[in-house]
Amino acid sequence: MSVYGFLPYALTAWLFGWGLYGIVSSRNWVHLCICLAIVQSSTYVLLLGIGYRLGAAAPVFAQFSASTAAVDPVVQALMLTDIVVEATVVALLLALAVRAHQSTGSLDPSASCEMRG
């Protein structure tokens, strides 16, 4: 596999790793949500990379014939689901972060360790 053929997979791993590191070392719940979004974007890169075809068109045939080579529409549909899932999870997490701030006055995860042991 050439370097360019592997690059998106390497990018996936890179984003995944750094996003996870951000989550582990985070000191702010909103920052943590954004790091989760970064981890999620690594999945977008992977899915779209898998479905891509060099020199092919988008799978929309409004202006050219249906027999033109096209990239995979299934991964794009999967990615759509993925985006909706991410948006909704981030919404829930941000709502919880708002509540955490109301309760403790701080957005630091270390301030909400009431349950332990």
Partner: protein, 255 residues
């Protein structure tokens, strides 16, 4: 655990995870050489059997329609959850007597005339564009989800360029909640057309129109509309939930 121990543990862990992903990806086909049968089987079916020139929409709402039902309900559930989580108890939130919706410690300039007129002007354009996206889902890239999000930005634009009261007036909570439930239930209902006709759920039993026009796609068109309604109202409800907290404080201060 101390921060240092946590960093070491996480460092080992992340290195391992990254290694697993890369190790597995080495044997994948190189990017740009998609091999698999699924996409190639589905694309001609979308155009010829389902009269939809946008294959992604056809995959979303026809071939994998039950996935999209689940996805739509994930949005529905999250909106419900956020509304539930941010609900204000009757005893009231910790009232600090703030009578303005603003960040603490920072003066907020009032919205200028230019912002207000630009915002109002953009509203019409955005509604048009959003509706175009939703209805042309089977013809060009777009669809219920994409168009719905654009439509949802309209009340947000009003909130940002004018004031929260006007935002509440154009998006009354009861109407928006009813719209969201209608969108969610509408998807199930359209899918049930197939069951009523004696075949499987989500079967395309509505007459398929002409390929490349607004009517091409059968049930896909109807599903696009229901999803567009649900997504738009869902995101408006999310905004209402987040803004509500500040608005309630203001209303209490005014009383």
């Amino acid at each position: 655990m101390s921060g240092g121990a946590r960093a070491v543990l996480a460092g080992l862990g992340i290195a391992g995870v990254v290694f697993v992903i890369l190790w597995g990806a080495v044997d994948l086909p190189a990017v740009g050489h998609y091999l698999g049968p699924y996409g190639d089987v589905v694309t001609p079916l979308a155009v010829f059997a389902r009269h939809s020139t946008d294959a992604v929409s056809a995959v979303n709402f026809d071939f994998r329609g039950i996935d999209t039902l689940g996805e739509e309900f994930i949005l529905f559930t999250s909106v419900l959850g956020v509304t539930l989580l941010l609900r204000q108890s009757e005893e009231g939130a910790k009232g600090e007597g703030e009578s303005e919706d603003r960040a603490q410690g920072r003066p907020t300039p009032s919205t200028g005339d230019a912002v207000r007129s630009f915002g109002s002007g953009m509203v019409g354009l955005l509604v048009l564009f959003g509706t175009y996206m939703v209805t042309h889902g089977t013809v060009t890239p777009g669809g219920g989800f994409q168009g719905g999000v654009i439509l949802a930005t309209v009340p947000l634009l009003v909130y940002l360029s004018s004031s929260a009261e006007i935002f509440e007036r154009i998006a009354p909570r009861r109407l928006v909640e009813a719209g969201e439930s209608a969108g969610a239930f509408g998807y199930v209902l359209v899918g049930l057309f197939g069951v009523i006709a004696g075949v499987e759920f989500l079967r395309n039993v509505v007459p398929l129109g002409k390929t490349g026009t607004l009517t091409g796609g059968g049930t896909t068109v109807l599903l696009n509309l229901t999803v567009g309604l649900e997504v738009a109202t869902g995101f408006v409800l999310l905004m209402l939930a987040f803004v509500d907290e500040a608005l309630q404080r203001r209303r209490r201060a005014q009383r």
